[in-house]
C-alpha cells in the first residue's frame, strides 16, 4: 500500500521507522471516512421542492372544492379572497404591529421560560430527591394542554398581559426542563469518566463535559418549548381578548371570526403557521444543524 496523497513531514530515522510511518499513513488514507457533499441545487430539489409542490396541490384542491360550491362561501372562501385579505393586512402595515405584538410576547415568554426551566431541569436531573418529587409531575404537565390554564389565569390576573405570560410559561417550561433532563440522562457514561481521568471536577465537569454533552437534547427541548410557547400564546390570545391587551395574531383571528369574516380567519391561521414554521426554520434549525454536524450526527444535512 503506497500512499501518495498523505504528506509526511516527520523525518524518518531508519528505514524500518519509515516503513511503519508509510504503512500508518496508508491505513489513515484508506480508513478516513469520506464526506459526501451534495450540491445545493440537488439539496433544494430533494428537500425544498416537495413541500412547494404539496402546497400548490393543496391550493388546487381547495380551488376545486370552492368552485364545486359544496359549502356556502362564508364557510369555504376562495383562495383568492383569502389572498386578498392576506395581502390587505400585509399592505396596510397592520400586519407589522400584529406580528410584533405576538412574536415579542412569545419571545419574552420563551426567554422567561428558559430562565426558569434551566435551573429546574438541572435540579431534576442531578438531585435525586427533586427528581422523585417533581419529575413525574413535570413530564405529566407536558401532556396538559396549556389552554386549560386560561380560565384560571383570567380569574387570577384578569385580562392583562400577566394572563398571557402565565399561560405561555405554563406551556413551555415543562418542555424545556424535560428536554434538559433527557439531554443529561442520555449523556453516555463514558464522558463523565473521561472528564474524571483528564482531571475535571465539579464546575469544570459541568462546563467542559456535562453541558456540551447534553446540548443536543437541550436544543430539542428548546425547540419543543418554543412550539409550546407559541401554541399557548395563540390559545391565550384567542380566549382572553380584551381592550387592555394589544391586538395580536390570536385576537386578530378572533376578530375575523366574530365578524363572520372567513377569509380573515384563514389568513390569520396561515400567519400563525408561517410564524411558527419561520422561527423554527430561521432560528432553531440552523443552530441544531450546526451542533449536530459538528458532532457528525447528521452528516450531509
Amino acid at each position: 500500500m503506497q500512499p501518495e496523497t498523505t504528506p509526511r513531514p516527520t523525518v524518518p530515522t531508519s528505514p524500518e521507522l519509515d516503513d511503519a510511518a508509510a504503512e500508518l499513513a496508508g491505513l489513515d488514507a484508506l480508513d478516513t471516512p469520506t464526506v459526501k457533499r451534495t450540491p445545493s441545487w440537488r439539496r433544494f430539489v430533494a428537500t425544498g421542492l416537495p413541500p412547494i409542490v404539496a402546497f400548490l396541490l393543496f391550493v388546487g384542491v381547495w380551488q376545486l372544492i370552492w368552485a364545486a360550491a359544496i359549502q356556502p362561501e362564508f364557510k369555504v372562501p376562495s383562495p383568492s379572497s383569502v389572498w386578498d385579505s392576506f395581502a390587505g393586512v400585509l399592505t396596510d402595515g397592520q400586519v407589522l404591529s400584529i406580528l410584533w405584538t405576538s412574536i415579542s410576547r412569545a419571545f419574552v415568554g420563551f426567554l422567561m421560560a428558559l430562565v426558569i426551566a434551566v435551573p429546574l431541569g438541572l435540579l431534576v436531573a442531578r438531585v435525586r430527591v427533586v427528581r422523585a418529587a417533581i419529575g413525574p409531575l413535570l413530564s405529566g404537565l407536558q401532556s396538559l394542554p396549556s389552554v386549560a390554564w386560561v380560565p384560571a389565569a383570567v380569574l387570577w390576573f384578569g385580562l392583562t398581559d400577566s394572563t398571557i405570560y402565565f399561560v405561555v410559561l405554563a406551556g413551555s417550561i415543562p418542555s424545556i426542563a424535560n428536554g434538559l433532563v433527557s439531554g443529561i440522562d442520555q449523556i453516555p457514561p463514558i464522558f463523565p469518566r473521561v472528564g474524571k481521568v483528564i482531571g475535571a471536577s465539579g464546575l469544570a465537569t459541568a462546563r467542559h463535559i456535562l453541558l456540551p454533552a447534553a446540548l443536543p437534547g437541550f436544543l430539542a427541548g428548546c425547540k419543543q418549548g418554543w412550539a409550546f410557547s407559541w401554541r399557548s400564546l395563540m390559545a391565550a390570545e384567542i380566549i382572553a381578548a380584551g381592550p387592555l391587551l394589544g391586538l395580536g395574531l390570536g385576537a386578530f383571528l378572533k376578530q375575523g371570526s366574530d365578524l363572520n369574516d372567513m377569509p380573515t380567519v384563514i389568513a390569520a391561521i396561515f400567519l400563525i403557521l408561517i410564524v411558527g414554521i419561520g422561527i423554527e426554520l430561521l432560528v432553531f434549525r440552523p443552530i441544531e444543524r450546526r451542533v449536530l454536524r459538528v458532532r457528525g450526527l447528521a452528516a450531509g444535512v
Binding site: L24, L27, T32, I190, F191, V194, K196, I198
Partner: protein, 264 residues
Amino acid sequence: MTTTTGTETTTADVSDVPGTAAVRLTGIGKTFGSGTDAVTALQNVDLAVGQGEFVCLLGASGCGKSTLLNLVAGLDEPTAGTLTRPAGSPSFMFQESALLPWLTAGRNVELPLQLSGLSRSARRERAAELLSLVRLDGLADKRPHELSGGMRQRVALARALAAATGPDGSGGGVLLMDEPFAALDAITRDALQGELLRVWRATGTTIVFVTHDVREAVRLAQRVVLLSSRPGTVVGEWTVGDDRDHLHDEITVRLRQVIASHAA
C-alpha cells in the same frame, strides 16, 4: 505467587522492583456489595510497576482487570490493602476512543492541559507536539467523526499522554490502558501496537496495559501478569525475553489451565 518455569521467565516479586515503583499494590482486595450478594472482584493482589515499565495484565473475562485499572486510576476505592500511586491521577485510555465529539482533535488533546491550568499558547503548542508524536500532524482541526477508528485511538493516546505527563512534558507519568485496541480491525491493531511501542520508548511513560490477547501481551510488554478469575488474583508473572513464541505458548497453556479450573 506462582513460580513459572522456562529459560526466559523469572518469578517476579514485588521486591524485585526497585524503590522507584510508579504504582504499588499490596494485598489489594475489592468487594462489590455486602452480605450474601457480595461479589469479590479482586483478592489479595500484589503488584508493583516500576518507573517507565510496560506491564500487561492478562486474563479471561471476570478476572477483574478493569476493576484493577479503575482502582489504580482512582475511579474507585479498594476495600482492602494499600495502593500507592504517584501524585496526580494516572491517565486512562479506554476501549473506545471516547473523544469528546463537540471538540476538534486538537482541542481534545488540549483539554487536560487546560484543566491543569496551562496557558492557551503553551497548551496549543504541547497538543501539536503530541499529535505529531502519534503521527497526526496537521489534523488538529479535524472533528472525531472525520477520523478513522485508528486515528481516533491515536488522538486518545495523545490526550492520555497530555494528561499523564506534566504540563512541560517532563515526568513519565502513568498510562493505564483498558484493551485500547480491542475494537480495531487486525491490520490497524497491528500498526497501532507498533506505534504504542514507539511512543512508549520516546516518552518513557509507565504503561499498565490490560488485554485478553496473549499475543498482544507478549508483543508489547516487558512483563506479563496473569490474573485468575472470580476473584481476580495474580497467578503468574513472566518477564518477556527474546523467545516470544515460546513464551506465548507457555502463557497460553497456563491461561487455559486457569480458565479450565473454573468449570464447575
